[in-house]
């Protein structure tokens, strides 16, 4: 009897938690995070931070919501623009009357100049590298901005879109707040920062004066829920409307079975690639690198990861990038791999020391790769380390093979330059992520960057990919798409095919049915 009373009292206490059935205006999002790190858009690099920053800020131009194709770039804070004949001088006319969050007034050309200069400054931005070709940014009048480039670049619009360094901040707020701007971001986006409770949640409110109209969602609670299992349980229990998911088939299948759940699988595909360190023996021998390529079985990897969330790559850059070509990757052929190894003097096989991360997803994929290579007599001696340590060690050139999974701005130049241009080789002053010491296509990558003719530019990028594959700088493995799940009463207001922020865009059209 007593227990019943306790149970009843507890149920009454829990009653307010029952999901409401009236049209909601509060969106509750579950994110795999301990906390947000950087809300300053020019420093936001993790999926956790980028997802939110995209709801708070705008760029001069933007990807049409739900798309990340460069062909879908449309006006955002800029109403129109034109470029000089040589594509070196670009003039942007700003939308009048755009309001910043809170009491930070209207957007002017000064804010845009300040933001782009800030994004180009390595001291204040993680994307400064993207702005290397900028000569100057100036305000012509309060609603006109002129960007002058040192040389023509493949996609200026790509750099100033709603991604990375392209986000426009309030000059007044950023100057007033200094470092604490990161904890109190002020932008022009559909949602404004309200509060952050460390370790618990970030609260956003609708920016009623948003220039595209007041958002229908009034509040967003972005909850930090690092444990996958309990985040899923919270979603299942109706405590979340939208949740960051796992990029694997079991998760997708499980979520699809839940009543009222809609699984979103969208671009970008993060391409996992084995970068073969040609500066180290025995990988300096092309035949050994080719043997590794022939030992990889991509369909098996897809089967392991799941057909809904992954696909076979066709080149050393992700599918869908502007300039992508099917570069003719070698198929799985163990006999050929063994023959190549024997020819290179490794009849009895060989062992390679590889530094790898302990992040579960990446480790599991690497273990499949390890098993596949073993069939050809190639043993991977995996040195599994903590993730930040892995990032440091691979940049110190300490691994024979680097397994790296990444998505970049979808124009071939970015991926090719960062991963395969000799300038980006690790342990050099201009290092980015060329772990393989690849030099195969420097000429094509450089020529394409300044090629004014679009078709010729694409031809150069395609030639570069083929050369990189021929030299086996890298062996593509698998492309994994983003996976989220939302309640069927939540309507994004657009068709979600891709999102460069790696999370669904929540904007003025998003609402509950």
């Amino acid at each position: 009897m007593k227990f019943r009373h306790i149970l009843l009292a507890a149920t009454l206490l829990a009653a307010p938690l029952a999901p409401a059935h009236a049209a909601k205006t509060d969106l509750i999002v579950g994110m795999a995070a301990q906390d947000v790190g950087k809300l300053d858009p020019h420093l936001a690099v993790s999926t956790i931070d980028r997802t939110v920053v995209a709801w708070l800020f705008n760029g001069l131009v933007r990807f049409k919501p739900g798309s990340m194709s460069p062909a879908d770039i449309e006006p955002d804070l800029a109403a129109s623009w034109d470029a000089s004949a040589d594509k070196k001088v670009w003039t942007f006319k700003l939308r009048p009357g755009v309001k910043f969050h809170g009491a930070y007034g209207e957007l002017t050309a000064d804010d845009v100049v300040y933001s782009l200069q800030r994004a180009a400054d390595p001291k204040r931005s993680a994307s400064s590298g993207d702005f290397a070709s900028f000569e100057k940014v100036e305000a012509v009048d309060p609603l006109t901005v002129r960007i002058t480039l040192k040389q023509t670049i493949p996609s200026l619009l790509g750099i100033i879109t709603n991604y990375g360094g392209g986000f426009i901040v309030s000059k007044k707020a950023a100057e007033e707040m200094g470092d604490s701007f990161n904890a109190h971001p002020v932008g022009t986006g559909p949602f404004a920062f309200a509060a952050n409770t460390p370790n618990q949640s970030l609260e956003l409110v609708a920016h009623k004066a948003y220039f595209r109209g007041a958002p229908k969602i009034e509040k967003i609670s972005y909850r930090y829920l690092p444990a996958n299992a309990s985040r899923d349980l919270a979603f299942q229990n109706g405590e979340l409307d939208l949740e960051f998911g796992n990029q694997d088939q079991t998760w997708v299948d499980r979520m699809k079975k839940l009543p009222g759940a809609v699984v979103d699988v969208f671009e970008p595909g993060e391409e996992a690639i084995l970068h073969l360190n040609a500066a180290q023996k025995p990988l300096d021998d092309l035949r050994v690198r080719q043997a590794i390529a022939y030992a990889i079985n991509r369909p098996e990897l897809i089967k392991f990861q799941g057909a809904d969330v992954s696909r076979q790559p066709g080149s050393v850059i992700p599918i869908g990038n502007l300039g992508y070509v099917d570069a003719g990757l070698p198929g799985n052929d163990i006999a050929k791999a063994k023959a190549l190894l024997a020819e290179a003097g490794f009849k009895d096989g060989l062992t390679l020391k590889v530094v790898h991360t302990q992040l579960p997803n990446m480790l599991a994929q690497m273990q499949v790769v390890q098993a596949q290579l073993k069939r050809a007599g190639i043993n991977l001696d995996l040195q599994v380390v903590e993730h930040a340590t892995y990032h440091q060690m691979i940049r110190q050139d300490l691994s024979a093979i680097v397994f790296y999974s990444a998505a970049r701005f979808p124009v071939a130049d970015v991926y090719l330059t960062q991963f395969y241009h000799s300038r980006s080789t690790v342990k050099t002053p201009t290092a980015v992520a060329n772990f393989s010491h690849c030099t195969a296509a420097d000429a094509e990558i450089d020529a394409a960057r300044t090629e004014p003719d679009g078709a010729k530019q694409i031809a150069l990028w395609q030639a570069a990919q083929k050369k990189i594959v021929a030299q086996m700088c890298a062996v593509p493995l698998i492309e994994t798409l983003q996976a989220w799940v939302h309640k069927d009463n939540l309507v994004y207001g657009y068709d979600l095919k891709g999102s460069l922020s790696l999370g669904p865009i929540i904007n003025e059209t998003t609402h509950f049915k």
Partner: protein, 313 residues
Amino acid sequence: MIFYIARRLLAALPTLWAVLTLVFVLVRIVPGDPAAAILGDRATPAAVAALQTKLGLDKPIWEQYVAFLAQSARGDFGVSMVTNRPILADVGAVIPHTIDLTLAAMVIGIVVGIPAGVWAALYRNRAIDIAARLLSLLGLSFPVFVSGIFLLLAFALHWRIFPVIGNANLADPADRLLKLVLPSITLGLVMAAYITRVTRSSMLSVLDEDYMRTARAKGVPWKRVVWRHGLRNAGLPVVTVVGLYIGILIGNSVLTEIVFNRPGLGKIIVGALNQRDYTMLQGLMVIYCFLIVVVNLVTDLAYGFIDPRVKQA
């Protein structure tokens, strides 16, 4: 008494200094550069170098060490390298949750563990004893991330009594209590298992003592003999375990916090470690260390309360 407490706190200073030094060295020995971790994989070496300068990581180690000690002495823990938020504000926001969970788990542990241990000792090798030993073994061997998920499945998903997301609103006592039930049971049962075992063995060692027999012979009721004479003498090891365990609970409740989506000190420590947030880690360690010193002090004072001979000594 006050003099005793002050003396104990002063004696803790060298310990605190040693731990600070150890923490300072350890966080820097771990490979992984905070600047690179903060800026991500698209950052240029110039950007990484600029951030290192800004964070003071380019200064000589001894200079960083002196600055760190001076700051700690002033009680100024600075701001997080990653979020730029003041460390004390972040810790202040989660510490009530950690204290709630620790105290609740401790209460459950004591309320369940001590009677179970006493009964098990009284009925040595009989059904009650065997059941208590088995259950405590089960409690110790069941990891909290499994028992926690089971509790969530039963009470949150099936019966829908408690929520899955346990980040309580501190201003609302009912909400705070509701969200404390499952995590404190999860953690409390592990503690109960420990306490049961210690209480049992400690009780067994006093049950055959002369004074127990004498008390019984004088006609004191058996219940009173056990609880007043027996448990009081068997209490010291139990208090030691409770004291030690509270220290462990404060930092190690991280798994419970993660499973039940609760904020807490343990979770912040793990987050700071992953991000290589040196300043946050250092600040947290100082606070953690201070808490341990306080808990040890309270444990020592409790000894005197249970056994006056300790105070005299």
